[in-house]
């Protein structure tokens, strides 16, 4: 309890007792301090800060669970929140989906080692960071056809605590860095945008200034501006079946949409069918279903240094560790936290899962989410993949994404395309896109890049849930080669 008191004082919380006989209570306090710096069209935008702190109080009864989220961290405020959560838990107990379960057994007690990502290299002060962004912004103005250019940086410090029945279970603190550059070139009816890691911050990691250096932001302004001009003059990507070489900043999206979401156990159990959708994956597929070719190995790995969604424990206090989701192409386990696994077991399908009950912040309850979801490296060097293609397209940097509610029929687009002809990279093409079906697409995986070609990406914008939640996820991958994919270009 000394540890609990210490952290209770540190976070400003006065922990509530279980509000009804036999119930259990968990309190998750989250503090986010964030800062956004931006230079857009050579004008320094106002500095934007945010200071957010509040508590998610959850009460667990035998057959029902309820929550109340509030920023009132006083003793009275948290006790009131616990009482409201208990009222909901009692209502859920009468009409819940938890038949045959004793939900009070789910929260795990006992402290986990206090953890936090390595702090990383110190960040320069604001004027120095603004000067860096201003320099890259200026470097993008290389041609009158450059009509929009921006450089931005978002920094987040997240600290959170989880108490179970008044005892500290976990405490984590991370720093998140999200740099980006974006430039648009336009001429007549044609407009092309190029960015650092995607227009929706595909380059984002935990750490310090080393993240900015690794992103390529320094010196990246002129490079992406020149690439936008190259795209402006490029032909449209051709249409037809071709081999497809996806670079890591597009593999990020491919993994996310057509492996990550379909493997979320709450979707498989039907929770999201009214909004985010279900899944083409069913409970009986685990352990036997050929998700991809034998080259496909996919891990859930919260321990990759710097990857965006690394943590020691999920938001319901389950300790996180690396596990295999797909091994040798065979589906192994879902992305399922403790509650979803208990529900699956109650349906007669016990499954191994992952510590992935996560929430965007204190104001939302945890649900099954991706975290760090990675395609493990293979053995083929990048040059070897290119050399093996007679007629194909290389695509990099996601720009468009759409997939059906079962996570099967997808259509994705990229910023940059380049033809591969007779084993060589040749013409740059614009508006490259491709379509496929998840259930068969991964079986066309023909080569996986080696360890030297792995890049760590992610997104701060993974949306799901009712009420909605946008969480951070990480995706590391090498380039991957797929055979016979339907590709196409732009135009109306």
């Amino acid at each position: 309890m000394a540890l609990a008191r210490e952290h209770s004082e540190q976070s400003g919380a006065a922990l509530p007792a279980p509000p009804s006989p036999g119930s259990r209570v968990t309190v998750r306090i989250v503090e986010d301090d964030a800062e956004r710096l931006m230079v857009r069209r050579s004008i320094v935008s106002p500095i934007e800060l945010s200071r957010d702190r509040g508590a998610m109080v959850t009460v667990w009864r035998r057959g029902g669970v309820g929550y109340c989220a509030s920023a009132d961290l006083s003793a009275d405020g948290l006790a009131r929140a616990a009482s409201i959560a208990d009222d909901w838990a009692a209502t859920v107990e009468r009409h819940g989906v938890f038949d045959g379960l004793d939900l009070r057994t789910l929260p795990e007690a006992g402290p986990l080692p206090t953890s936090g990502a390595a702090p990383g290299e110190p960040m320069p002060d604001r004027p120095a960071l603004i000067a860096l962004l201003r320099a890259e912004s200026a470097a993008m103005r290389i041609d009158p056809r450059i009509v929009s250019w921006s450089a931005q940086l978002r920094l987040v410090r997240r600290t959170q605590w989880l108490w179970v029945d008044g005892d500290l279970r976990s405490h984590e603190s991370v720093r998140i860095v999200e740099p980006n550059l974006e430039v648009t070139a336009a001429e007549g009816a044609v407009s092309q945008t190029r960015s650092l890691g995607g227009q929706y911050n595909g380059f984002c990691r935990q750490g310090g200034f080393e993240v900015i250096r690794a992103s390529g932001l320094e010196g990246g302004g002129e490079r992406i501006a020149r690439e936008a001009l190259v795209l402006l003059a490029a032909p449209e990507c051709p249409t037809g079946a071709r081999d497809l070489l996806l670079m890591p900043d597009q593999m990020m999206l491919q993994i996310h949409e057509s492996i990550g979401h379909p493997l979320e156990l709450d979707r498989i159990l039907g929770d999201e069918r009214n909004f985010a959708g279900g899944s083409f994956v069913s409970l009986d597929m685990f352990g036997r279903y050929a998700y991809g070719s034998p080259l496909l190995d996919v891990s859930f790995d919260p321990g990759v240094p710097g990857e965006l969604a690394g943590y020691a424990a999920d938001d319901e206090g389950e300790a996180a560790r690396k596990v295999w989701l797909i091994r040798g192409g065979i589906l192994q386990r879902p992305l399922g936290g403790k509650l979803s696994r208990a529900r699956s077991a109650a349906l007669g399908v016990p499954l191994e899962g992952t510590a992935n009950a996560r929430a965007v912040g204190w104001h939302r309850p945890a649900i099954d989410r991706m975290a760090n979801l990675n395609v493990e490296p293979g053995t083929t060097p990048f040059d070897g993949m290119v050399a093996s293609v007679e007629r194909g397209v290389l695509m990099r940097t996601n720009v468009s994404w759409s997939i059906d509610d079962a996570r099967n029929k997808f259509q994705f687009g990229c910023e940059w395309g380049q033809l591969i002809e007779d084993g060589r990279l040749t013409t740059v093409v614009r508006n490259p896109g491709y379509r496929g079906v998840s259930a068969t697409f991964w079986r066309s995986l023909a080569a996986v890049g080696d360890a030297a070609s792995v890049e760590v990406h992610g997104t701060p914008f993974c949306g799901k849930g009712e009420p909605g939640q946008v969480v951070r996820v990480g995706h590391a991958s090498p380039p991957c080669l797929f055979r016979g994919v339907d590709v196409f270009g732009g135009g109306s």
């Binding site: 669970v65 859920v92 929009s148 759409s402």
Partner: protein, 447 residues
């Protein structure tokens, strides 16, 4: 909430130093959330949250800070302490800032009050109502109930206030997922307070509507199909225009999907007129710079783009006239003018084709060309000679909006549907749109 807003305004006046202007938008909600799966509760709880988005303006410099206030019932001391912490950070940020040539905030004190009555939400009664109305149907749904408030105040005396109590219940009725067929019908009910009889009746109607889904599922080949877009489907398509379509900034920086329409290279159907219309009642009549918004901004008139949404900041940047749009320059209260197609004649006019209930997961496949892709979802039916035959397997479309709503648009329905936003990303949204059905001669299915 109103007391918290007034307290915030008083604190701003007390903490602003001479020469400083402090402004804030308040976003507050006290929400009851319930998720259903198999007509039983999956997840339920309450959220109380108030975020003050502060801006400190000192001469020609400014900085912003979004700060969560410590509870909806916080007294003056609690609010003052939290704001004081933020103001310290803001003064440091302003000191590190450069002059902002695009700074534009309304320094005149504007006072307005748009409030609505409170409603009572009985947790147990609502859950009982849904469970009883759904019966043995596989209902999956989400309810968000309670008040949502928006306010703008400043140390110069502005007090602009908007608050609505509402209940929005959004659900779908699912048939057994035989061989991955995913057959479901979508419905929703919203109002200022729970009308139990109306909700029960609406659930009953959606159960009846689901019966046609029991017929065999038809798999369509890619190609062009006649479609009847239900109001929700047309609404899904029009929401894409909020992604740069009407933004003055996007048009000026080569990033608008309606750029070709603006330049007159293409046109839409003369049947199509679209207005940003605050009288639809979806959104507050002020924006985050404190400017009152015009009641009506015609955006598309008879197929031609006649205006865009320009925020004060964009107006300064490009030398335009502002129409007090929000900073993201997306419509918040959109109305599509109805046409003449009667609901009881719509299927007959469709003849043979697809009746599309909802569209899903739309994205620009070529933004500059105005080409959009997405999926059909929920009760989308194959229709032959005006008669529903059965559900279709979800299809992907990929087509140009100026074609779908241009040459291909044959008619608009005569009865628009009000669709308040049910978005809950980060916080419960205000806003919404009103649209009729649309009969389209050809929509290009790609997969």
């Amino acid at each position: 909430m109103r007391r918290l807003f007034d307290t915030l305004a008083e604190v701003l006046e007390a903490q602003a130093r001479p020469g400083e202007l402090l402004v804030a938008t308040l976003e507050a909600e006290a929400s009851e959330f319930v998720r259903f799966n198999h007509a039983r509760v999956r997840q339920a709880g309450r959220l109380e949250r108030a975020v003050a988005r502060l801006r400190l303006i000192d001469g020609d410099r400014q900085a912003g800070c979004a700060v969560t206030l410590p509870g909806l019932g916080t007294g003056r001391d609690g609010v003052a302490a939290r704001i004081a912490e933020a103001v310290v950070d803001l003064r440091a940020a302003v000191a590190a800032s450069e002059p902002d040539p695009l700074l534009d905030v309304n320094r005149s004190p504007v006072v307005s009050d748009d409030d609505a009555p409170d409603a009572v939400f009985d947790r147990a009664a609502f859950v009982d109502l849904v469970a009883q109305a759904a019966g043995d149907a596989d209902l999956v749904g989400f309810c968000a109930a309670g008040p949502v408030a928006r306010g703008f105040c400043s140390s110069a005396g502005s007090r602009q206030w908007y608050r609505r109590d509402s209940l929005a219940f959004d659900w779908s009725i699912h048939l057994p997922d035989d061989a991955g067929t995913r057959r479901a019908v979508k419905a929703g009910w919203s109002g200022p307070a729970l009308d139990a009889a109306a909700v029960a009746a609406a659930i009953g109607r959606s159960r009846a509507d689901a019966s046609v889904l029991a017929r065999p599922v038809r798999r369509l080949a890619p190609g062009d199909y006649r479609v009847l877009l239900a109001p929700r489907a047309l609404g899904d398509l029009l929401e894409m225009f909020g992604w740069g379509g009407f933004s003055a900034r996007a048009h000026r920086t080569g990033q608008s999907p309606l750029g070709r329409l603006a330049r007159g290279e293409v046109s839409m159907s003369p049947l199509l007129s679209v207005v940003e219309d605050l009288d639809a009642g979806f959104a507050p009549a002020f924006q985050s710079d404190g400017y009152p918004r015009p009641r009506r901004v015609p955006l598309i008139e008879r197929g031609r783009l006649v205006d865009t949404l320009a925020s004060p900041r964009t107006a300064r940047e490009f030398g335009l006239s502002s129409n007090a749009a929000s900073d993201h320059e997306s419509p918040e209260s959109l109305r599509v003018a109805p046409g003449t197609l009667r609901a009881d004649e719509a299927l007959a006019r469709l003849g043979t084709g697809v009746s599309v209930s909802n569209l899903w997961y739309l994205n620009w496949s070529d933004r500059a060309a105005g080409r959009v892709t997405g999926m059909t979802r929920f009760a989308s039916l194959w229709v032959e000679d005006g008669e529903p035959v059965g559900p279709i397997e979800a299809m992907r479309f990929d087509d140009a909006v100026h074609r779908v709503l241009g040459d291909a648009l044959e008619a608009l329905g005569d009865t628009p549907l009000r669709m308040p936003s049910t978005d809950t990303w980060d916080s419960r949204a205000t806003g919404g749109l009103e649209a009729p059905s649309a009969l389209v001669s050809a929509l290009r299915f790609a997969l």
